[in-house]
Symmetry: C2
Subunit: 268 residues, 2 copies
Amino acid sequence: MTTIIRIEDPQDLRISAYRNVRDRDLARDNDTFIAEGKVVLSVLFAARRFPPLSALVLENRLDGVSDVLSTAPSDMPVYVASQSVMDAIAGFHIHRGILALAQRTPPPSPAALLEKLPADALVVVLVGIANHDNVGAIFRNAAAFEADAVLLDQTCCDPLYRKAIRVSVGAALKVPFARGGSAGELADSLAQHGFNAVALSPSGAESLSAVTPSGRTAILLGTEGEGLPPALMQRLRTVRIPMSQSFDSLNVATASAIALHRLGRFRD
Amino acid sequence: MTTIIRIEDPQDLRISAYRNVRDRDLARDNDTFIAEGKVVLSVLFAARRFPPLSALVLENRLDGVSDVLSTAPSDMPVYVASQSVMDAIAGFHIHRGILALAQRTPPPSPAALLEKLPADALVVVLVGIANHDNVGAIFRNAAAFEADAVLLDQTCCDPLYRKAIRVSVGAALKVPFARGGSAGELADSLAQHGFNAVALSPSGAESLSAVTPSGRTAILLGTEGEGLPPALMQRLRTVRIPMSQSFDSLNVATASAIALHRLGRFRD
């Protein structure tokens, strides 16, 4: 049985980790992170990649989230507060009614992650994507098409940022990822681990449909503005999604979905 | 030559249409709409579907947007204001630095729009999509893959809402659309005009790849939660994008992109 603890004082030390959630987002605490919303928390508890430490629930939402809380570790404390106490804790209006604090386990290095993947693995590799909506949406697509992992170069944003987790509908808590190194170092590591890497770009030399995945495959994506670095484009096979010449290219997360649909395990 | 008019007083009647932009969004004025940002305005001026009435530009951005303004009608007034005057006019901080007021031309009825389309037309039909981000993103995809039109049932939101235009990167100002009627009425109209309609749904009977477009094709999309109405699913061919059974379905705009990629004129 989950332990329910009522919080009356926003300064209560037991919920100090939830205080001023937005400032905390910016501070990029490296030990823990906060996730929000019923669907995201159900993924957090089911995926078991990041140990949940506690939950903070709006009192009038407790009944509605009891099914999700029943999937949490039985010794995880559940703090319950009124709307005014909850808003005072978080520093803004929490309309989703449920937050959880989870422990950030040390992410593997890209090489360590690639090493463990199966012989037919499909990975998504992000370069310079610093927008939390895009990173979150790419994780959502990676989960929908069952990509094996996401690699992020050192200039990408953190997938465990609260908004990225929310946009990913929890996929950032489920799909294995590694973050670090330059784009060139990631490409080296992919080559060392036998991945066929394709760089997706509006200026790609071949159509996406020309790629027949076999063995280990990696899809590389850059920012919508700059795209992938020219040095990377020169050393890799480059592919494009055929589209209008007279309109702005696709959103990068949308492009990832089309590539995962065509190259992933559900292709047909 | 564009006429540049300096505005010193936020109450100046010449720029009253720009006052309190956010309240105006909510009021859904049916005669005019506001678009924002350099890229969006370049589409507004190039597409010529909606007559631009004026622009309001931050004084220190004037040089940076002169190329875009040179594509506007030569008799269109360009109002220029300082940041503080501009923010006082709009009611919030305008960081994009350029707004335009345009005239909303009466949209055609769905039937009138379908009537005019070519024999190999591809249209996207939206049912119940009330989220401006999703509608904007679907227009962006429709433009990228050169769909001929977007139809929206009466419960969809307005594509000329400021945020929908922004997310569409201007595509809402370019891709022809019609809005009105129930989902059933739209399906009737599609049938009367010889469209092969496919309803996209996670529970679709066939894989998307089973569809070979010929003649006029329509892709129908519903909300992520409810999906398309059961009555509509029963009368139409239903298709699914094959994906993981263990993870939440794709975002509806993402699904539209995959369908447009597979069924549109750039398919390969």
